[in-house]
């Protein structure tokens, strides 16, 4: 520790602490631009020059580390002269176009110019002009003359996003921030460059010229997309969400947001929004009153229950729905006598259900006597609850990681970032997966195998760690002190998911490590807590579609995009007598639904998401619901009343949340561990190892980052990014050659009765015998299961 004095204030800080950080702790503000606590020290802006006793010249506070007895003067004559000198230099070539600058009102340069600038300039030469650049649909670099070359954006790319997409080209006064040869910025974290740009050089393209910062009010919220639960500041004007910024939370999103969290708000204002209840009468859609629509639904459900039986009713929800919505949905279903409720729409292996170690009565189940089967010790077999298995902060402290079946960067952009920082500090990452996308971090070991070889690959590691084999993945894991084994979305959606889980659990146990799931969606854990699951008596998401029901309630779900097998899902929807779509959007359901109930997206309702680390985060609506839209929990509550189900009398979402979590011991519930080993699933489910008939391949399907949920699918700017491009069929070049297909040519892909045509890509990092075809996208929605055999032919 070192005792130092800053402007007369004594403070003790650790050795190695910078003067600027020590000053911050002492409550002394030192002006700065290039310094950012999350980035490396550049010391190039020179704004933080301060006087340090015995130093002959002013020193940069950001790059000077403390020394015992150091005396720092941040506002002495020497310091202020230096700071004002730098400010003058910063402003001479700056356009000073604050009145038309998007950064106006929230500009670090503007703020500090007030304190250190002069009211008139001594610079009478011509100002430098830096040409604008088009670096993609999200980040605007239209006014690069404003740039002060602090290189925060460059360092962000290199250090946080993991790729140097922006750099400083040219020298001296000609220095410019730009991409490499007119490239674009494609990082899934690019929007953070807008936040850290201290001037108006990099601004938000979707937000440009739509509002001034001081016109906006800030509402706290929680990201409805991935399972991290990033904290959001939703900025609002005239009851409209204008933009989204991060709220700093070191334990969750730090000071960052993924582009999905940041730019998806455009989807909230999409013209596809459903704003009035609609009823299909005589094959035509009519806008109706809420009362009419809800009574129609209640009558319809009652008729099917009375006629065909309650088990003919199924409910499918997305894990992007709130805890309150999911709780009331399952309660409604159970209230009318059906247990057919599920949110695991993309899951294909449910064999782990009910196999959690230990049993206990589930609080959200109906009391005994209503037909519940009870296990021998008096409780419902416990549903294991896939969660991260540790806190997000602890994940960042891991020193050895095995990541199984995850499109990590795209499915979990900020968790990937956290792991990237851990790798920089020496952690080793090993990967078992079916694709070899660049994680933009050092990967110590990887095993890229076809989907049907995943379990074998994992079993090998389990065997190796048990045998203390010091080579490869096993050796890496065995050499660690804080081992983490993670199952990604691909592993959870895999037809042998339970087996992968069981093996991962064994590996973690043998390496004394932690084991967890990278949750798929904002409320994957919350949905378990709300028991939006069939339990032992109902049908899971897959069975509900393979054995079609007569009635479906869809909560935020778009079956052709959200389900593991869209072909099957659509067939079930088309055949049903009654489909009730509760949705914020007028989506494909207009083709098969009978009633559309407009619900409020996360920004227009209060609610709760439980993140993958089990953190319960409630939020309030940022704006009023659009049109006649209503929060889905209110829609469900009224339906409960109309169907005379008890326990539907909550006045607000907090009451629903409290009811949902009333007797749930979350700490106890967060349990990944299976009580028994799970047998091997039949290989047929995954697809044949070697295609026996011409053109048969195993399908590898990711859900593209900007196709993962209803809101982001309608976010206009995100849909223009490279990540949102129309899916292509990627295969090993040897396979393309065998098919006689040139990369870039069209191929015909068929599953079941339908086929789609896509352009082919060669990717020799893919395993042979497999084809990568994304799901969750309109271009592939006619296809069948995400896993399994798919036929590829020359188009």
């Amino acid at each position: 520790m070192a005792n130092i004095e800053i402007d007369g204030k004594q403070i003790e800080v650790e050795n190695g602490c910078t003067v600027i950080e020590a000053a911050r702790r002492a409550g002394v503000y030192i002006p700065h631009f290039c310094y950012h606590k999350k980035l490396s020290i550049a010391a190039n802006c020179r704004m933080c020059l301060v006087q340090i006793e015995k130093a002959p010249k002013p020193m940069p506070a950001c790059a000077t580390t403390v020394a015992e007895g150091m005396k720092v003067y941040t506002a002495s004559e020497m310091a202020v002269k230096a700071q004002k000198g730098v400010m003058e230099f910063l402003l001479i070539n700056h356009p000073l176009d604050c009145p038309i600058c998007d950064q106006g009102g929230e500009c670090e340069l503007q703020d500090q110019a007030v304190g250190y600038g002069s009211s008139a300039s001594r610079f009478h030469e011509e100002k430098r002009v830096v040409l604008h650049k088009d670096i993609g649909p999200l980040v605007s670099a239209e006014e690069m003359s404003r740039c002060i070359n602090c290189t925060r954006c460059v360092r962000f790319g290199q250090e946080i996003a993991g790729q140097m997409e922006l750099g400083q080209a040219f020298r001296g006064e000609h220095a410019e921030i730009m991409t490499f040869v007119n490239g674009s910025v494609n990082s899934e974290l690019s929007g953070n460059m807008i936040d850290i740009c201290p001037v108006g050089a990099l601004t938000s393209k979707p937000f440009r010229y739509t509002a001034r910062s001081w016109e906006l009010s800030r509402r706290r919220s929680v990201s409805p997309h991935d399972s991290l639960g990033s904290n959001l500041a939703v900025q609002v004007r005239n009851n409209r969400v204008m933009r989204v910024l991060p709220i700093e939370n070191e334990d969750i999103n730090e000071c960052w947001l993924s582009d999905k969290d940041r730019f998806s708000y455009e989807g909230l204002n999409s013209n596809e929004r459903l704003t009035r209840p609609m009823l299909k009468q005589d094959g035509k859609w009519q806008e109706v009153e809420w009362q009419t629509a809800l009574e129609f639904v209640a009558n319809g459900l009652r008729q099917i229950k009375d006629g065909a039986g309650a088990e003919q009713i199924g409910a499918l929800a997305t894990p992007h729905s709130t805890l309150e919505e999911l709780y009331l949905l399952q309660k409604l279903l159970r209230g009318i006598g059906s247990h057919n409720v599920d949110f695991r729409l993309r899951q294909s292996d449910f064999s782990a259900d009910g196999k959690q170690a230990g049993t206990h009565p589930h609080p959200n189940l109906p009391p005994e006597g209503e037909g519940a089967t009870v296990s021998s010790d008096g409780g419902e077999p416990r549903q294991f609850l896939p969660w991260l298995g540790m806190s997000v902060a602890d994940l960042g402290k891991a020193d050895r990681l095995l990541i199984i079946g995850s499109f990590l960067r795209k499915d979990h952009p900020l968790l990937a970032q956290r792991i990237r920082q851990a790798v920089k500090k020496g952690a080793q990452v090993s990967v078992i997966h079916s694709t070899d996308d660049d994680l933009l971090m050092n990967v110590a070991h990887k095993n890229i195998v076809a989907p049907n070889a995943m379990a074998d690959a994992l079993a090998q590691v389990a065997q190796d760690v048990a045998a203390k084999n010091n080579a490869g993945i096993s050796g890496s894991l065995l050499s660690g002190e804080r081992v983490v084994v993670l199952l990604g979305n691909f592993a959870q959606q895999h037809p042998q998911a339970a087996q992968l889980q069981s093996l991962a659990q064994q590996i973690a146990a043998a390496t004394n490590g932690k084991f967890g799931f990278l949750g798929e969606a904002a409320n994957s854990v919350g949905a378990y807590l709300a028991h939006a699951l069939p339990g032992t008596q109902g049908m899971n998401a897959a069975t509900m579609l393979s054995s079609p029901r007569k009635a479906y309630i869809l909560l935020n779900a778009e079956p052709e995009l959200d389900c593991a097998n869209p072909q099957q899902a659509m067939a079930a929807m088309q055949a049903a007598d009654l489909v009730v779509a509760i949705s914020a959007y007028k989506h494909h359901a207009v083709d098969y639904a009978d009633v559309l109930l407009p619900s409020a997206p996360f920004s227009e309702t209060s609610g709760t998401f439980v993140s993958t680390e089990g953190r319960v985060q409630s939020f309030k609506g940022a704006v009023k619901p659009q049109g006649e839209a209503r929060p889905a929990w209110k829609i469900l509550r009224v339906l409960g009343n109309l169907l005379n189900v008890s326990g539907f009398d909550q006045d607000n979402s907090e009451a629903v949340r409290d009811a949902a979590l009333a007797s749930v011991n979350i700490v106890e519930k967060l349990n990944n561990i299976l009580n028994e080993n799970v047998g091997r699933a039949m290989p047929d489910a995954v697809g044949e190892a070697h295609p026996t008939k011409t053109g048969g391949f195993q399908r590898i399907a990711e859900v593209p980052i900007y196709s993962a949920d209803a809101v982001v699918r309608r976010a206009a700017a995100l849909q223009k990014t490279r990540d949102a491009a129309v899916p292509r069929a990627a295969m090993h070049s040897a396979e393309l050659e065998k098919l006689g297909v040139q990369p870039g040519a069209q191929v015909k892909l068929s599953q079941g009765q339908c086929c789609v045509y896509l352009y082919a890509d060669a990717d020799d990092r893919l395993p042979k015998g497999a084809v990568r075809v994304a799901a969750g996208h309109a271009a592939t929605a006619d296809l069948g299961a995400m896993f399994g055999t798919i036929t590829v032919e020359r188009a």
């Binding site: 190039n44 730098v86 230099f89 030469e125 070359n149 400083q168 000609h174």
Partner: protein, 424 residues
């Protein structure tokens, strides 16, 4: 051309082909390396000898070489490097160029001894991008040395191993700054690093690294062969040895001169053939273009060593002596100098990136008859705001010529502003 006790560096100039190994051996070449390796002289003795010699960095900063070598962590496990800075870019300076052209083996031997002293196996020589034929000559010399067993494995039959790689730069002045040079070797944009950490702890590829100027390394064989004391006695206390002076400008016989430290400027000017016919000395920049200019009459009383020139108000720098006669317009001269620093700023630090262009534009205006009376004080204030405020010394290098010119020739600037034309 040498004086007195004979040259230390340009030792082979009397031969037809001064650069060959054969000729270098004739003047005692590689004797020092052989002695060091066969007698296994302890590294600390070598460092002590270099300290005794009072050899100071010849690139311009004048840092004591022996002290610099002693900073290298002796027991560091892993790679360490030595790097020779032949990125000779300071306007007026061309001495290292001639070392590569005429006595490349002196550099190779000096670096080999340095490598032995600091337990380094790999050296790099960063050659200025605009002297390609010197780079090729150096490459040829390294080949010769390798073939003869002075570079590579088992040097001179011992277990000492050292190889030297030449790297041709692309002509950026700032890459002569040692940390920018390291960045450039690493394949990055040549921009100085903030120090600390210093290269001795975090240098090339993050490994301990010592960087010396070409002339500095080339002085080492003599120091080892003849002893540090003898080298010291060639020059003056605190300024040991000989120095290469590049004399340019209005002299009859411009060129590189190797002279003992402390040689009077008067003598140097004489050797350079004196001021060109019929003209009289006006001013001299004694240490490369970034050093403050001194009036001729002051220079005529100055000796060419670190302390004497500093006392007179400038610095010995790289030893590039730019001589100007009375026909020189100091405004025009400063405009040219300021343009150089404006063009060569790397753009990293605000004061240098923005300030060098501002300085140049003001001087340009004055030169072209658009100066304003307040410009001169503004220039000086800007210099105050640039010098000492940047990561590397390029900011200082841009400010000092302005300050020097305005200190001694302010009247010429005022005349330009008032009459919109030149005084001379």
């Amino acid at each position: 051309m040498s004086l007195g006790s004979g040259p230390v560096i340009y030792t082979t100039l009397d031969f037809d082909q001064p650069w060959t190994l054969e000729n270098y051996l004739k003047v005692g070449g590689y004797q020092a390396l052989r002695m060091v390796l066969t007698e296994k002289i302890p590294p600390e003795h070598i460092i002590a000898e270099v300290k005794t010699s009072a050899l100071r960095g010849r690139g311009g900063a004048g840092f004591p070489t022996g002290l610099k070598w002693s900073f290298m962590p002796r027991n560091y496990q892993g790679d360490k490097y030595i790097v020779c800075n032949t990125d000779e870019g300071e306007p007026g300076t061309c001495k290292d160029w001639d070392i590569l052209r005429y006595n490349p083996h002196a550099l190779i031997e000096g670096m080999a001894i340095a490598a032995y002293t600091m337990a380094v196996k790999t050296g790099y020589n960063y050659v200025h991008g605009e002297i390609f034929e010197a780079y090729e000559r150096m490459e040829a010399a390294c080949e010769e040395a390798r073939a003869a067993g002075y570079l590579g494995k088992d040097i001179l039959g011992t277990d000492f191993e050292f190889d030297l790689h030449n790297h041709l730069g692309y002509g950026a002045y700032v890459c002569g700054e040692e940390t920018a040079l390291l960045e450039s070797i690493e394949g990055k944009k040549g921009q100085p690093r903030y120090k600390p950490p210093f290269p001795a702890s975090f240098g090339l590829y993050g490994k301990p690294t010592t960087i010396n100027n070409t002339e500095t390394f080339s002085s080492i064989p003599y120091i080892i062969r003849e002893g540090g004391q003898k080298f010291l006695e060639l020059g003056r206390p605190n300024s040991g040895g000989t120095k290469l002076f590049s004399v340019s400008g209005h002299v009859n016989n411009p060129g590189n001169f190797e002279l003992p430290m402390g040689t009077p400027f008067r003598k140097l000017l004489e050797l350079a053939g004196g001021v060109r016919n019929g003209h009289k000395l006006k001013a001299v920049i004694p240490g490369g273009s970034s050093m403050p200019v001194l009036p001729g009459e002051i220079m005529m009383e100055v000796d060419m060593d670190y302390d004497s020139i500093q006392k007179a108000g400038s610095y010995l720098g790289s030893g590039a002596v730019i001589v100007m006669d009375e026909t020189v317009c100091m405004v025009r001269a400063l405009e040219r100098l300021s343009y150089f620093y404006y063009e060569e700023s790397c753009g990293q630090c605000t004061p240098c990136r923005e300030g060098t262009g501002w300085l140049y534009r003001i001087v340009h205006r004055i030169e072209h008859g658009n100066g304003k009376p307040e410009d001169l004080d503004l220039l000086l204030e800007l210099c105050d705001n640039i010098a000492g405020r940047t990561i590397c010394a390029l900011g200082d290098a841009a400010a000092w010529p302005v300050q020097g010119m305005l200190k001694h020739y302010r009247n010429e600037f005022e005349y330009h502003i008032e009459h919109k034309k030149c005084m001379v």
